[in-house]
Symmetry: C2
Subunit: 227 residues, 2 copies
DNA sequence: CACCTTCTCAAGCGGTTTCTTGAATATGAT
DNA sequence: ATCATATTCAAGAAACCGCTTGAGAAGGTG
């Protein structure tokens, strides 16, 4: 192999690596991966979730599939897309973490989207596990029902973001000293915030779990399916 | 905040994440990150390492700096570029791992570049550590001297890839039963392969450490600097 | 079969990226 | 000061990407 051929082969190899990065190098596709990390979705559901046209969403999904980041299965007329492996989620989270730590810029963008969160108390995965060993607490999963079904923290109660009124009944059956922890898709999701503010309006204090289910699962946390 | 504004803010946030991915979404820049993961370099050295023109390399380095993946320092007329943080390396490795596991395609490209490696015996970081606890072995760092200086495995001997003849002397002072392990930049680097084949030509068996220094360091392995 | 739903594809416009060339800038040495 | 070295910048050509529109394919239903 000549030096020139070697160079070409090396370039091709790294171009291959870059291809994967290119899959995530679009805001739309990043959003799609964030959504699919919660569980599989049809094209239409994905389009709805990211607020794009069907054709454009299909386009991006095909791109992700072409580079191997997502996989599909057909069920009747629906085609379900899912992340191709846990490693995709792992890489996405590494990228997201890097972005958050590196760019103050991202901090500003996040604040613009999520609003001021300083009034909300948070709890980390680790702290939650410690607490869970000591005593019971009420865990609330504030994500659309489909995501709850594809995997949730053991014992968590589903309260979809558009059904926050379910909290009324739930809270009325609690003792005043019962502690409440809410979580949703992850640090860049507002659903848990909304639920906690709703509870605050009822005079109940609640904590927000920083991590979402993908982070929890990748860290080796137990996950329940179904119901 | 209206729904429309919320959408725009969310898009901007994910566009921000995608920006980081875009930094790695070019074969050239991926190569640069792989090189800089071994230690800082000047623009000229980097250009040489990736076989590109100076202007183009500078261009790519500026792009990486703009998205915050690399940082610089000036020393006289030279400007040294380095990865901005260990997290950059972490993310790059996650991406590379994902690519390798996901795409058979990458396997083929790697084989095209690296040649057939099936004849070479490998050893993992874990196995190496176990062995090191039981007995001494000869560790050889087959990277350019500058990279050895910026960080190498404890006790490793530097044998730059263009000075393989140094192995002659080295081996003549060894007992026949001494075991030799060589490593270089990582799994996609040929230097250790070359050294092991050189040793095989002398009738000495040697193992290749799969991981490079970045992987070793990120896994919490001890690293020595200087000399 | 005709018809509906769900998804994909093709074409095309406008914008971005990559690489090259040649000039400009910044620092250090004489 | 003048020159050499190292790096960056500016401009332009070719290729590529993202989004839209409208048509097409694949599967299910009456």
């Amino acid at each position: 192999m000549t030096t020139r051929e070697k160079r070409a082969a090396k370039d091709a190899l790294f171009e291959g690596f870059a291809t994967i990065a290119a899959g995530l190098a679009s805001g739309r596709r990043a959003e799609i991966v964030e959504v699919l990390a919660q569980g599989e979705r049809t094209v239409e559901e994905t389009a709805e979730a990211i607020g794009q046209t069907l054709a454009n969403t299909s386009h991006h999904l095909r791109t992700l599939a072409r580079v191997g980041l997502v996989a599909t299965r057909r069920d009747g007329t629906h085609i379900y897309y899912r992340v191709a492996s846990e490693q995709v989620v792992e890489t996405w989270l590494a990228l997201r973490r890097l972005a958050a730590d590196q760019l103050d810029h991202i901090e500003d963008l996040a604040r613009a989207y999520l609003g001021d969160r300083d009034d909300l108390e948070v709890i980390s995965r680790h702290e939650l596990e410690t607490k869970l060993r000591e005593r019971d607490l009420v865990l609330i999963d504030v994500r659309p029902a489909a995501e709850y079904v594809s995997g949730h923290l053991p014992g968590a109660i589903s309260v979809p973001p558009d059904r926050l009124e379910l909290l009324d009944d739930l809270v009325s059956n609690l003792l005043p000293e019962d502690e409440i922890v809410a979580y949703c898709r992850g640090p860049y999701c507002v659903y848990a915030d909304d639920a906690i503010r709703y509870l605050a309006g009822m005079g109940r204090r609640a904590l927000r779990l920083v991590e979402g289910v993908p982070e929890w699962r990748l860290d080796g946390g137990p996950v329940e399916k179904g119901r």
